[in-house]
Amino acid sequence: MAGRRGGEQPVVPDTEFTSYYGTPVLNPPVWKTPDIPGYLFLGGLAGASSVLAAGYHRAGRHGVATVAKTGALGAVTLSVGALVHDLGRPERFLNMLRVFKPSSPMNIGSWILTGYGPLAGVSALSAVSGKLPRIGAAATAGAALTGPALAAYTAALLSDTAVPAWHEGHRELPYLFVGSGAVAAAGLGLLAAPARAVAPARNLAVAGTALELAAFRRMERRLGMVAEPYRGGGAGRLVRAGDALSVAGVACAALGRRSRLLRGLGGAALLAASACTKWGVFKAGQASAADPKYTVIPQRQRIRAEEP
């Protein structure tokens, strides 16, 4: 760690700042764990799985497609459950549909869920029951088109707050989130796909991991000191675990062409990777809101930069 002064506090140059007895400037997010980080993870898994399912459906790989479709339905059902649990009462979810408000990502998210959820449901039920194949195919396509919105909007949900590590990361977080969603969906695909059909899931795992890692590095560079919460403490450990697990998952997928066990391990690692990443991002935001320096110092620097 660069330049330690006075024992305890790790001091990066330029972190001198004043605060009101060290108390946070912001009120901390009241969103509960595991509800909201779980919601972020499940939304990504559901949305990306629907896209992957449509691909397998189109390729005629109905076994994997059905697993991806039911996985998407399961994930979106659990995610709504997590949301309602955080809100406390089911009718509170409906309360959000009384207005349409583009300035509120949470409101838009409710509409996305309302559009996507039934499509994912019809797609999965048709695949499992074998009934109404045409309607099932249309719903599969619809879920594949709306799923990405579900996987990506949660980034705006976090960024549209004053929480420094979330707000400042608003350019990269959507890419990070869909990358992480793709990693999760690929993980589920790997668990389900027979050897002959594993290639697309494996490719998606590689692409998702690459996108996620690239977005993270870019965000860290751009954020400067505000990126510290993504590296330190519990959030940092989760983010690093996510990175390691997705790389390990990709490696298993690449080597596991013939080994079902290796593919299974890879799939599980990718699912865990995605969960760790989302949890890490969530925790990093909480940590950045709790320490006044992440609010005060960047704002001071901005004022200084704007001064003639």
């Binding site: 007895y21 009120n27 992957l52 919105a149 980034a155 959507p174 692409a207 996108l211």
Partner: protein
């Protein structure tokens, strides 16, 4: 909805009140605050806000800590080792609160107390209001920002959205609460309870335009009297939140009082956020399609 320099912001008009009274607000002049907490108490009483129980923070005479669901006015107590700059005794009518305060408590020339009564800023561009998914937060005809507790979902979105750390969730009912600018009193032509109770006129209530003029004069007076650190906070309609409906005269940097030095309404970046969300969603579609390339059919 940016407002230009030429025209004063009209949040009530923008929110669909074609004929509305002038925008009302608070000017909190901390240079005359004596830390009596009459505002905190009056606010609690009038708005029937539950007690928090007895907490000793141990950090100063401030045992409230900060604004929250059950604290809509909060008096900050800052103990500083800084030379005292006193304004001319004639400035605050004929009382010199500084001498009075010093007589009781000062331990020397290098020690001073800053006190400041904080409150919801009733931002011109209010992030809490923008992000509320239910429309529970609304703008009153007086330009203030109010939560309707019968509609509030308790989703908690407004809480991290507020760049000032004002609005918060009440644990008992899960809903969000904050200062209403005493909406119920205003309708009856009364001033808010805190301003009414303030014995030094540190909290002044009135049409925002008038308050801004008065505040400008007060800063000049203080500067002339040698209080070089006096400055207005939240009064600039061109700042990141479009100016505050409750603004302050401070005697030090805002962060000393626990206030953000350059707050920005988070939704200012929202169009860009939505563009990146769309880009990322498209990337997921395209990337997954690409993952099937060359992998063959059936």
């Amino acid at each position: 909805m940016r407002t230009t320099r030429a025209q004063p912001a009209d949040p009530a008009g923008d929110s669909g009140y074609p004929d509305h009274p002038p925008r009302m607000g608070f000017f909190t002049d901390t240079s005359v605050c004596i830390g009596c907490k009459a505002c905190e108490v009056a606010c609690k009483e009038w708005n029937a806000i539950p007690a928090e129980g007895l907490d000793l923070t141990g950090m100063s005479y401030d045992n409230t800590g900060g604004l929250g669901a059950n604290t809509w006015r909060h008096v900050a107590f800052i103990e500083q080792n800084k030379p005292v700059t006193r304004p001319d005794p004639g400035l605050h009518q004929d009382q010199d609160v500084f001498t009075m305060a010093e007589r009781g408590t000062s331990t020397g020339e290098d020690f001073r107390w800053l006190m400041s009564s904080d409150v919801c800023k009733h931002c011109t561009h209010a992030a809490c209001l923008d992000v509320c998914p239910t429309g529970s937060l609304f703008r009153t005809e007086f330009g203030a920002v109010v939560v309707q507790e019968d509609i509030c979902n308790g989703c908690g979105y407004c809480i991290p959205a507020c760049p000032y750390g004002v609005i918060d969730q009440r644990k008992e009912d899960g809903r969000a609460w904050k200062c209403t600018l005493c909406y119920d009193r205003l309708g009856d032509g009364l001033e808010p309870a805190c301003a009414k109770a303030c014995p030094t006129d540190s909290i002044q209530f009135g049409p925002l335009e008038e308050l801004r003029e008065r505040a400008g004069r007060r800063v000049e007076e203080l500067h002339e009297a040698g209080v070089a650190d006096a400055r207005l906070y939240g009064a600039d309609p061109d700042d990141g939140v479009g100016g505050d409906g409750a603004f302050f005269l401070l005697l030090d940097e805002p962060e000393v009082y626990g206030l953000p030095p350059d707050p920005v309404v988070t939704t200012r970046d929202l169009p860009r956020m939505w563009r990146h969300v769309a880009g990322a969603a498209a990337a997921l579609l395209a990337g997954t399609a690409a993952a099937f390339l060359g992998t063959g059919r059936g």
